[in-house]
Symmetry: C2
Subunit: 455 residues, 2 copies
Amino acid sequence: MTTEHDQDVELLRELVQREAWDELPEQFDKLHVQDISEVLSGFDPVQVKAAFDVLPRELWPGVFAYLGPESQYALLQSLEEDAEEGRFLLGSLLPDDRTALLESLSEEAVERLLRLLSPEDMKQALKQLGYPENSAGRLMTTEFVTIRPEWTLQRALDHVRTRGESEDTINTLYVTDNRGRLMGTVGLKRLVLNPKDEPVENLVSDSAIVSITASEDRAEAARMIQHYDITALPVVDKTGVLLGVVTVDDVMDVVEQENTEDFHKIGGMGAMQLSLREARPSLLYRKRVGWLVLLVFMNIFGGAGIAYFEETIEAVIALVFFLPLIVDSGGNAGSQSATLMVRALATGDVRMKDWLRLWGKELAVATGLGVTMAVAVWGIGLWRGGAEVAMVVSLAMVMVVIVGSMIGMLLPFLLTRMNLDPATASAPLITSIADICGILIYFSIATVLLGVGSG
Amino acid sequence: MTTEHDQDVELLRELVQREAWDELPEQFDKLHVQDISEVLSGFDPVQVKAAFDVLPRELWPGVFAYLGPESQYALLQSLEEDAEEGRFLLGSLLPDDRTALLESLSEEAVERLLRLLSPEDMKQALKQLGYPENSAGRLMTTEFVTIRPEWTLQRALDHVRTRGESEDTINTLYVTDNRGRLMGTVGLKRLVLNPKDEPVENLVSDSAIVSITASEDRAEAARMIQHYDITALPVVDKTGVLLGVVTVDDVMDVVEQENTEDFHKIGGMGAMQLSLREARPSLLYRKRVGWLVLLVFMNIFGGAGIAYFEETIEAVIALVFFLPLIVDSGGNAGSQSATLMVRALATGDVRMKDWLRLWGKELAVATGLGVTMAVAVWGIGLWRGGAEVAMVVSLAMVMVVIVGSMIGMLLPFLLTRMNLDPATASAPLITSIADICGILIYFSIATVLLGVGSG
């Protein structure tokens, strides 16, 4: 699978690069639609269009579905003269993929594309775009097969046979009452394995139905699918009427995207939907500059702290040698505990009510870390500045590490409490706050112990 | 679903807390096994054992399966007097869940548990533990249904009926030749929808089979399942013989675990398999202390840099005010680009061959960021230290941000090139390296421009 297949993918990339359109069809035969999509999404619309011209028509929907919103829209635009082809491609998308495409576009673009759809598809697309951003309703597919509880398994199976060909997934069938309210689910497997004359209701389990309402967050849908180990989660309205289904493959993309956003946030940036490879420098600049400039102004306080202790510094200049060390250590310990906490809150491992117990644990860990690091710097302090400086540096180290860790642990909790995203407690922010505290602690201890300066 | 259900979960937690064993069964009825497991995994083995004593026997396997390795082993140990119950529980686990339990235990514990298994299960468990750690072979389940290409669909369906009851998933059937080599897959859906007298081989698609060899990394299995949008990935040996199946639910846990590890590493810690809630302080200490102490010693170089410029500092003490600002800004910009790069490498968005293009882009972004930040500090420099200091601070800011960003971008690439984990280029490491460079750059510029000191 691996090496030969990787070579085939690479060869396709080269052929498109060389614009060797005649040789593409042979290469298309060897690859899956997902691989073809991945290769094409790296190219300009003109080249994607040329590749589609030689792509067998039956592969169009598959390759188009995996292209990603940007390349999809670019291709649809380049097909503009030929409304028929655009209509075919857009109509071939599953409802959830179509919503993903539409929600990433400008209003005019959405209007243009909606005109390509059949009245029924258009109605469905508009309804789905009506759900809040990042909701389960936007993520769901509206293609599913429902059966009735009073039917025999034979009738249910016949129904599946007539409906199933056009539906993407029939591994799970949804049992609804006469108002369309979800009563339970039955796996195709159980339909096949049980006697044909049994009624469907015998197979519906008694336990509570696992479902989600359309307006809830898609991250919650992801958590439920993961928690209950299911491959499809029914989406209902407030009265329990079945509206659609969120499938595990959609959810994996959501999990990856949310993880990437948390990663970016803790790294001190705005979350980017775009990939690093595709993002233009101007976007990267905008996502990064905000935090950096904010942190510049926070650091002014650190500078003011230093200015306040000017006399202490002038009296014992050796204190400056240890400034980066002390300041960094508090920031590092703090960003460690913030990272641990943000991740634990994101995966649901830790909840708000755990904070007191975790606070005690963090205090124990931080004290241990601080003492270890104080021992490590004691010798260096002795060598560079004598016994008194060694004492100041060691004492400051213990306190700075404890204070930094506490800030790193508490800030994500406080943000969660205020219904803000805990990932905003980014490592650079924690570092900067811990820095200011570190400067104040360090020079305060020095001023008192060395008996000098303005303090 | 949400609130009422959440209350039921909370009530169960309270009942176990209060040790109100009599009231548990009623609460068990309202919940899914996954919910019961989640509640119980927060308690001590003694309480878990007491809860199992009142848990209906038919729910034992389900609740046990989701408990997680630690609670599972603790429960098995507390059942020790009663080997029968331990055998029942261990035997009820799916092969992949059993492997997950065994691989987390000490050798003696594994031996003790293996003795509880049937000879067949024991052989299978030992075989699976023989695959490398974190391999697809350890992750796969060995329960699957195979059919032969020459069978009619009717015969295949009959075979599924006899085998299916004992197998967890039969949504996908595996077509193998007479040596057990995988020839393709057929969905249960297609078996049901097509005429019964057709041969199986007509349904097997021509395109290359998506599969993975048992020794490959489980992260690669996760990537393939995500890329090809499938719910189950066949695992084969080097000759193509089907050994097992990795399913999408196992893969979601892998994705989450690997993301957590990357998160911890970029935060400057060792990766933890344990949850933050469950980890003891001693483990947290060990995972965090290594980096912190290493960074202490790296910071000594920063201190040495400052000592080298002692005369410059004594001549213009105002330079010290800006030291934390300059030094932090380089570190912050660097940890931003390291975070972006580590995540992009982890998700496969960026590959090694992209580095030159990304290097150019990062240079452009960093220059923009540096100039913006220099403008921000110019005024402050002018106010606190006069025109010359403002010039030094601004110039140093541009250079420090560019150098920090370059280090942050290049280090993950270099680590990947040396086949090391790019996530080791943690934010604290980048910060410390950027700090040292920042100190040298800042005071060098000061020494030259202000015409003072030892430089």
